[in-house]
Amino acid sequence: MRNLTIVAGKEFRDGLRNRWVLAITLVFGLLAIGLAYFGAAASGQVGFTRVSTTIVSLSSLAVFLIPLIALMLAYDSIVGEDEQGTLLLLLTYPISRIEILAGKFLGHAAILGVSTLVGFGVAGAVIATFSSGAPLGEMAAALALFILSAMLLGWAFIGFAYLISISVTEKSKAAGIALVVWFTFVIVYDLALLGLLVGTGGKVGQGVFHYLLLLNPTDIFRIINLTFFEAARTQAGLASIGADAAFHPLILIGALVAWVIAPLSLALWIFRRREI
């Protein structure tokens, strides 16, 4: 437990020091406020729009951004230490491999968690102050759900990053694979599903299709934030099919949690078996 907090503390302080926390917070905050203010520009007006619209457009942008940030944050966490020789050294210390990896995860998860919470939280407060209309309670719930799902999405991709970082021996290779993983989950998967849907003339059963969406954390994130806003469905594209499935939000959150646990556990398992 002590080792866990030592490693996590170091990672988090590294994140503060090299401005990761600041940068991610600013990106998220400005993105949210910018979208809220200019979101309606297409319809000829500027000014804070409805929260529901803001969150829907925010989630469709965040779904690209969050996985990318998470992968960039953590892709070199093991392979980087391996290259510089500190991993070998750490392993001769009284610390287990599980503690090293879990400690790093706690640190990186905190970096991303704090940035998400502060960035989107402050933006939410600003929007709430200036926009009118939606009841405060409903808005806070929507924002809370958005922030929670954004954190889980980020953590899932930190898990992917570790999986990559542990499986390769060069940092540059890890970076390349991270890019491919990002591209696959964020873009290719949806395109492939669309292709499947169109190619089979819609013969794929609705049920099957809903579950196929659960096989991609980015789609789960989209569905979570769409189901909350009935009105926004028309703008939502593919994920609105998932929204129709009416998965209970708890099930969706659970699925996202599973996407955090699965890659991380797999990474731990590989790391424990790997010879140095």
Binding site: I6, Q84, L89, T92, P94, S96
Partner: protein, 325 residues
């Protein structure tokens, strides 16, 4: 009777088809300093990793402080162990002080040991600077300080003097002497360790995963039968010197700039010296006992030769068998 800190019995390690270690028998006593030498790929690093418990041997037994280094008590062992890896690059964005306090906390020791340790390796003036501003020698010193955390009873140094200037190398060796004085066991691992002879109790020479030789420098010199080299400044001709010293097994080289090089068995040193001292034509004299490096070259050359002979023999055998009668 001193307790042995490390015991390796018939240790072998295979990576797939490659046999990285073959039948290594090695013991290290308390307070003993051993130099482990070998070229790249000789098995030094693998031996170290086995001792550190980072990899398990495929055959044989290892115990460190009486326990399996890769077993359940590994964490207890590691508190008593210091390791300096080869070419370690610490966290560049941290200061020397921060790096060391991170490792000190992982070794369950507070921050108060950090400043004295940095002082000890001569990094005190630079301890609040980021590691990325450090020179190669400073990084090596930081690694050394890291290995010294928690006053370990067993220290493993991998290429410790690479990148150190002569002064720092001297400081390092005097630190090794001091550690030995306190009963700490030390393994110095290197492919070349100039000037290490005076600081080690024993040398182990590895080659192609096998232990080629092990013993004190004198024992190794004895078994290698390497000649002692004497350089004379004299007006006498090499032939005359060779004739006079033939009885002692000495051989003379060509005269060059009024200097003659003599090679002789180590045992002939004193009688030959007596003779030369009595000779008024001998103006000056230099002596060079076989160095550890020449011993290493000798043992390493032997295994290469024997490997060469083996393959030559088998090639001949194949050729003979393949030839129609």
């Amino acid at each position: 009777m001193t307790r042995s800190v490390i015991e390796m019995r018939a240790v072998g390690k295979r990576f797939g088809k490659l046999a990285a270690l073959k039948e290594i028998d090695f013991t290290l006593a308390e307070g003993e300093v051993v130099g482990m030498m070998g070229h790249n790929g000789a098995g030094k690093s693998t031996s170290m990793k086995v001792i550190l418990g980072l990899i398990r041997p495929t055959s044989g037994q290892v115990s460190v402080f009486g326990h399996d280094p890769a077993g359940a008590e590994a964490n207890q062992l590691r508190l008593r162990l210091g390791y300096l890896p080869e070419n370690v690059q610490f966290y560049e964005q941290l200061t020397g002080f921060e790096v060391l306090s991170y490792f000190a906390r992982l070794k369950r020791i507070g921050n108060k040991v950090v400043a004295p340790l940095l002082e000890r390796v001569g990094l005190a003036p630079a301890m609040h600077r980021q590691v990325k501003t450090y020179s190669k020698g400073m990084r090596q010193r930081l690694g050394l300080a890291q290995a010294l955390i928690g006053e370990p009873r067993l220290m493993l140094f991998d290429e410790p003097t690479v990148g150190l200037d002569p002064m720092a190398t001297r400081d390092f060796y005097s630190m090794v002497d001091e550690l030995r004085g306190r009963g700490v066991s030390v393994i110095l691992c290197s492919h070349v360790l100039p000037g290490v002879e005076r600081h080690i109790d024993r040398a182990v020479i590895l080659g192609q995963g096998k232990m080629l030789a092990s013993g004190t420098i004198d024992e190794l010199r004895h078994s290698a039968k390497l000649p002692l080299v004497m350089r004379l400044r004299t007006s006498r001709s090499p032939d005359a010197l060779a004739a006079a010293l033939r009885g002692y097994g000495a051989v003379a080289g060509e005269a060059r700039n009024g200097r003659v090089e003599l090679q002789m068995p180590v045992a002939a040193k004193i009688p030959v010296l007596r003779l030369l001292m009595a000779d008024s034509e001998v103006v000056d004299l230099d002596m060079e006992p076989p160095t550890l490096e020449s011993l290493y070259a000798h043992f390493d050359g032997m295994i290469r030769e024997s490997a060469g002979v083996e393959s030559a023999v088998s090639a001949t055998a194949r050729a003979t068998q393949g030839e129609p009668a």
